[in-house]
Amino acid sequence: MKTANISKSLKKYGIYLVLVVLIIAFSIATPQFLTVSNILNVARQAAMLGVASVGMIFVIIIGGIDLSVGSMVTFVNIFVAYLMVNAGVSPIVAALTGILVTTLIGLFNGWVVANIKIPALIATLATQIIFEGAAYIIAGGMPIFGFPKSFSVLGQSYIGFIPLLVIVMIICLIIGSFILNKTFFGRHFYAVGSNAEAAELSGIQVKRVNYLAYSLCGFFAGLSGVMLLSRTSSGQVTAGKGFEFDVISALVLGGVSVTGGSGNISCAVAGILIMQVLSNGFVLCGISTYWQMAIKGVILLAAVGFDMMQKQRQHVVKK
């Protein structure tokens, strides 16, 4: 019994071992890696990924996927920048409006998936292109900058020595964990993801669960976009390009099953850190972005493959 428990927790938290191994490997490979400034840098970069992952985890747990996260980040970047610079809206109102809009985009995604029954992969692929296009239309393809100074507080200030961005991420992770474990709708996410029909027959309104999960995803993607904009001080039409890939990879690495119904924040954090450590380590080691892309693709494939193989093995054992 005891060894079974140990092997179980090893399986659950084994991903942290991978993280530690990676950190050791990069520390040996380059002396710049394990310095205070670099670690803070990694943490700051991880903040956006972490916040967006909190939103995405709900969607993946209910058995869906949201490919529009990256383009929502881009859209918020341009939209909020436009509001501040071209329309003279105050930073806080602009940021909140941006987040509201992405939340509504999320709600739309959820509605399309649950009501018109378009597979999430296709539905959110469409919204991805729509809002990327919208960002280009608003910006005319050009970067937008020259924000009020107060807007940079979120992305560039510190509390003690810890970047404010990191604190926001930690708060979001805690909120995500709270929703998943302590609220009834959080538990409903797992029920819908593991067996939607049983959930519906248990009185759970599966459609509403979809609306909520996708809306939350939009909300956190929007927040992530605002954080990025505040950090870079420039609205870019390529801001969120390929970001959904990093988010999905981070979650899958962190043991969130792409078939739905399982996953938790405590393991997802490891996946988020691994993705960020990899990006950072590759840069420090001088590996080209082209190689980085290829390697990240291989990692996603391996992580999903591992998840599926585990599932098949369980299946065989059951038979």
Binding site: K182, T183, F184, F185, R187, H188, Y190, A191, S194, N195, E197, A198, A199, E200, L201, S202, G203, I204, Q205, G261, S262, K318
Partner: protein, 495 residues
């Protein structure tokens, strides 16, 4: 009398825990229609599957035209001239009739399919069978009856000498059924040996030359159709006496009517009315597909009725979703436990509390202490055998999974519990426990609708039984009138 072209000798097949076929022998002669009948679960389908290679028998032999085989494969069955028309048709909607007839057997020029030659040949086959189908017609535009004919034509192209048909008339309209009969009779004249599975007495007597009755995985008897009659056949099909005992319960039936269903139609159910008294166990009997589950879905708000009324506790209700039914005090424990009942990867805790989670939350936050109490309470009450509530449901036995479904339902404090096949796939000991639980629910003042394909179980547990067939109310029996023969008679549909 002609020779047997297909002979099954002492076929035995065991599945874990059950003997599905116990030394069953059957022979089919060229040019005869051999009806195979029996209750749900008698072993008819398994027997057929041994002829097509879908099931490998543990013992026995399959003799086709004098050649003996220990088991079949789909390819071998095809070579031997055995073809099966299943209830779910395997035609491809986006191909035309001719292409379907030659599916997997296409006439080609090099790698290009020669549609014209196929259409000509298909037209000839259709003509020889007296089927009026345009070979170029898309199959998705055809009715079920025509699709079935295409399957039969396909079997003929494969030179089938033995044609096995699994309830072919079930999805058909009256006119289509008539055409099917003519076609089957034609095939008999052509010397094809036909195994015809059906529950419908009139058509069995109309078509068949010989009849074999199966029950509980055994062959009971083969007889000439002329030497038997309706009543004898039904007696042979149900046969067994009530053997198992059922736990006693107090009579709790009150006079007030809890549920009043009036002329409800929709979801495959036609014009059904019944009343349910508080404290009653109402059994719904019928064959698979008779509309029992569909009726339950209408009452529980899974599907919407086209017409008719549901009056719950004196008020007319329209449930749009199960949530509303649950709020009103109705719960359904569904038929397919794994598909509809439980979330297999989640814990017992998660499953048991699933339906009542929102109710025990303060705002959005779950009251964990209360949830824990409820789960613990039902774990003890229903005696769910598990080391911990964190155990994933997939690791539990069938009986314990069923108890988890029940716990989930009871945690919503229902007044009416609808059980759809509550004891399917669970072992005898666990069944008895479930029966005791049902009685306990009644004694607590709840009311039950019980759907079951096991007649014994219904007769042992119910106060009253309504028999459905083809979505319609066929008859109703009070406890003192219960008889297997009568139920079977009603269940085989209007004569």
């Amino acid at each position: 009398m002609s020779e047997a072209i297909l002979e099954l000798k002492n076929i035995t097949k065991r599945f874990p825990g059950v003997v599905a076929l116990n030394e069953v022998s059957l022979d089919v002669r060229a040019g005869e229609i051999h009806a195979l009948c029996g209750e749900n679960g008698a072993g008819k389908s398994t027997l057929i599957k041994t002829c097509t290679g879908a099931v490998i028998p543990d013992m026995g032999e399959i003799v086709v035209e004098g050649r003996s085989y220990t088991s079949m494969t789909p390819q071998l069955a095809d070579k031997c001239g055995i073809a099966v028309i299943y209830q779910e048709l395997n035609s491809v909607g986006d191909l035309c009739a001719a292409e379907n007839v030659f599916l997997g057997n296409e006439i080609r020029k090099g790698i290009v399919v020669d549609k014209k030659v196929m259409a000509e040949k298909a037209a000839k086959v259709f003509e020889s069978l007296n089927i009026k189908i345009d070979p170029y017609e898309m199959v998705k535009d055809l009715t079920v009856g025509y699709r079935q004919m295409i399957e039969i034509a396909k079997a003929m192209v494969h030179n089938a000498k033995i044609l096995i048909m699994d309830e072919p008339s079930a999805p058909l309209t009256n006119n289509e059924t008539e055409t099917l009969f003519t076609l089957v009779e034609d095939l008999r004249k052509k010397g094809v040996g036909i195994v015809y599975i059906s529950h419908r007495m009139p058509e069995i007597f109309r078509l068949s030359d010989r009849i074999t009755v199966m029950r509980d995985g055994q062959k009971i008897q083969t007889m000439d159709a002329g030497n038997t009659n309706n009543d004898e056949l039904i007696k042979l099909m149900v046969g067994r006496e009530l053997t198992s005992t059922f736990p006693e319960r107090k009579n709790m039936i009150e006079d007030n009517i809890l549920l009043d269903v009036q002329n409800i139609t929709g979801n495959g159910v036609k014009d059904i009315s019944f009343q349910l008294k508080k404290g009653e166990i109402l059994g719904l009997a019928g064959l698979v597909g008779a509309g029992r589950t569909e009726l339950a879905e209408l009452i529980f708000g899974v599907k919407k009725a086209e017409s008719g009324k549901i009056i719950w506790k004196g008020q007319e209700v329209h449930f749009n979703c199960p949530k509303q039914a649950i709020r009103a005090g109705i719960i359904l424990c569904p038929e397919d436990r794994k598909q509809q009942g439980v979330c297999l990867p989640l814990s017992i805790w998660d499953n048991a509390i699933m339906a009542s989670l929102e109710g025990i939350s303060k705002g959005p936050v779950v009251n964990h202490k209360k949830a824990e109490e409820i789960c613990q309470h039902y774990k003890e009450k229903l005696q769910i055998k598990t080391p911990s509530l964190d155990q994933a449901v997939k690791n539990l036995s069938g009986g314990n999974q069923q108890k988890v479904v029940l716990a989930k339902g009871l945690a919503t404090s229902p007044e009416l519990v609808i059980f759809d096949e509550p004891t399917r796939g669970i072992d005898v000991g666990a069944k008895y426990e479930i029966y005791k639980l049902l009685n306990a629910l009644i004694e607590e003042g709840k009311t039950i609708i019980m759907i079951s394909s096991e007649m014994e179980e219904l007769m042992g547990m119910a106060d009253r039984i309504i028999v459905l067939a083809e979505g319609e109310h066929q008859g109703e029996l009070n406890r003192e009138e219960f008889s297997q023969e009568q139920i079977m008679q009603y269940a085989s549909g209007p004569n």
